[in-house]
Amino acid sequence: MHDLIQYITGYLSSDQTPGAAGNWFWATVYILLVFVGLSVAVIAMNWLERKILAHMQVRLGPMRVGPHGLLQPIADALKLLLKEDIIPAEADVTVFWIAPFIVVLAAFTVFVVVPFGATHAITDMNIGVLFMLGVSSLAVLGIVTAGWSSNSHYPLLGALRSSAQMVSYEVAMGLAVVSAIMMTSLNEEGVGTLSMIGIVQAQFDQKQWFLFKFFPLGIIAFGIFAIAMVAETNRAPFDLPEAESELTAGFHTEYSGFRWSLFFLAEYSAMIAVSSIAVTLWLGGWLRPFPNTLTGATWDLVFSLFPGLTFLFLAGLTFYSTARMPKHPFFKIQTMGLGGFGALLAAIALILFVPGVRTRVQDIYWFSIKVSGFMYLYIWYRGTFPRYRFDQLMKVGWKVLLPIGFALLIVTAVVAMRAELWASITGGGHP
């Protein structure tokens, strides 16, 4: 028993991820935390998407279910769970069952290597980025089998189009990722790394986010990845395969109830996963702004106040909305609920001001803020851009992004290794 306590508390003072330290208890705890965090994030994304899209379209969005529609995702989840489970006639039942689970598996397994902090990852694989790209490409299999097993032509067309699109943009993503990985090798030993924590560490050591490195090469690589990741997750403006006016919801037409919610969960988790890759590779992962130039205890203190201030800001917004609620007795419960929610946010803010919590939550907070920025961009794209036609989509993937990716790769390699290249051309010294 004492060994067990020792095993559990012994990890807390180490500086490795639980997977690298071999501690299965803490690895399980981290896995459960990631699971819960993802579910909460998907629920929040559902509400945020509807409200933000609505406000972009000069309307209000869901307002009835809770105060300002805050309970709408819960109502949606209840409805999906209680709906009748319809399986089309002559559909292949085994494959119909398995398909949503393949997509969810691919979307969730990716989070094993996502680093929320310097030691806050489930594990730190040597092949972190390769693992993420590979496992997220397994989602294509789930989509293809989902479309085929529905035994109906709309899903089949939607599945084939969707998977062709995902496979095409994976190539562009891979090229952009390789350009970023090449920048990790600009240290003394000349050896780069594929591990996610190593990439952020390289950005810290080179005192520059890879977004700004070799300007404008970092930004072009980031741009290619940002476009490709929107296409990879089948989101607007690349969402022809699942657009309602085109293909009646594409490959998940015949799925209803809980199965459809699995596809929905997988889509949002995949969005968060590819945003995590973009944040880790180009935007400095969990690093706070200016970790090398603005050092010292005071700057650390200033930046560590940000989590609490963010939640205080959100609590202030909530209290402001509470004050603006109509004074009719019908709205009494909603006003009380909104006030309670504001109090909850303020309580979280106060907890985040405690010095012990402040230093530990730092990394997770900065990572989450950057990923949330990407989520907002996703919703913004959906509200702003018209949809690409499918042949235009494939043209952009193969004829625009791929050549730019290749050129970028070559130019980045030449610029990164220019000293060695020049030495080997002029024959001076060893290359």
């Binding site: 092949i127 693992f131 590979g134």
Partner: protein
């Protein structure tokens, strides 16, 4: 150093998944079911590569084999109508001879593996180093290094091979040349 404790559990579990997947591949009537069983086998194989401390090969297997080749197979299976093929006979006329010949080959393999000579077993297990965190760098050294790398030429030939395969596949699958 001691080997990790749960290794036999994972090895036997994964090999059971692979064998069952392999049997399902060769016995199912429906080609899509065979393809899904093959995907399971390939993913279990990637896990076995991780057990053999080869994470890069595992990553390449997941991306290329399970995420690329099997998608290609599934596309082709869906392009080819299979309702007719499901009503035909699935196995050859000479299936018994085929199985007997294959099992004889298997017996030959196992006899070679377990043969001992002069009291020594063939594969002495020297588990002295469990290095994994430099695997990608070591593979890259073998492939690309100027001094120690021996496989640069093979790498270039492999890329040429892929180019030829792409051109060949496109030419053969086009409607009119």
């Amino acid at each position: 150093m001691n080997p990790p404790v749960a290794t036999p559990f994972f090895f036997y579990g994964l090999s059971l998944i692979m064998i069952i997947g392999g049997i399902l591949v060769i016995t199912r009537k429906n080609a899509v079911h065979s393809a899904l069983a093959l995907i399971t086998t390939l993913l279990a194989q990637a896990a076995l590569y991780l057990m053999l401390y080869a994470p890069f090969v595992a990553g390449v297997q997941i991306i290329l084999y399970a995420g690329g080749i099997m998608v290609l197979f599934l596309f082709v299976i869906m392009l080819i109508s299979i309702e007719r093929t499901q009503k035909e006979k699935q196995f050859n006329k000479q299936w018994i001879v085929g199985i007997v010949a294959a099992l004889a080959l298997g017996a030959l393999f196992v006899a070679v593996y377990t043969k001992t000579s002069r009291g020594l077993t063939l594969f002495i297990e020297g588990r002295s180093n469990y290095v994994e965190n430099q695997n990608v760098q070591n593979v890259a050294n073998l492939l690309f290094d100027r001094g120690a790398g021996q496989y640069m030429f093979a790498f270039e030939i492999a890329s040429l091979l892929l180019l030829v395969a792409i051109i060949g596949a496109v030419v053969m699958a086009k409607k009119r040349i």
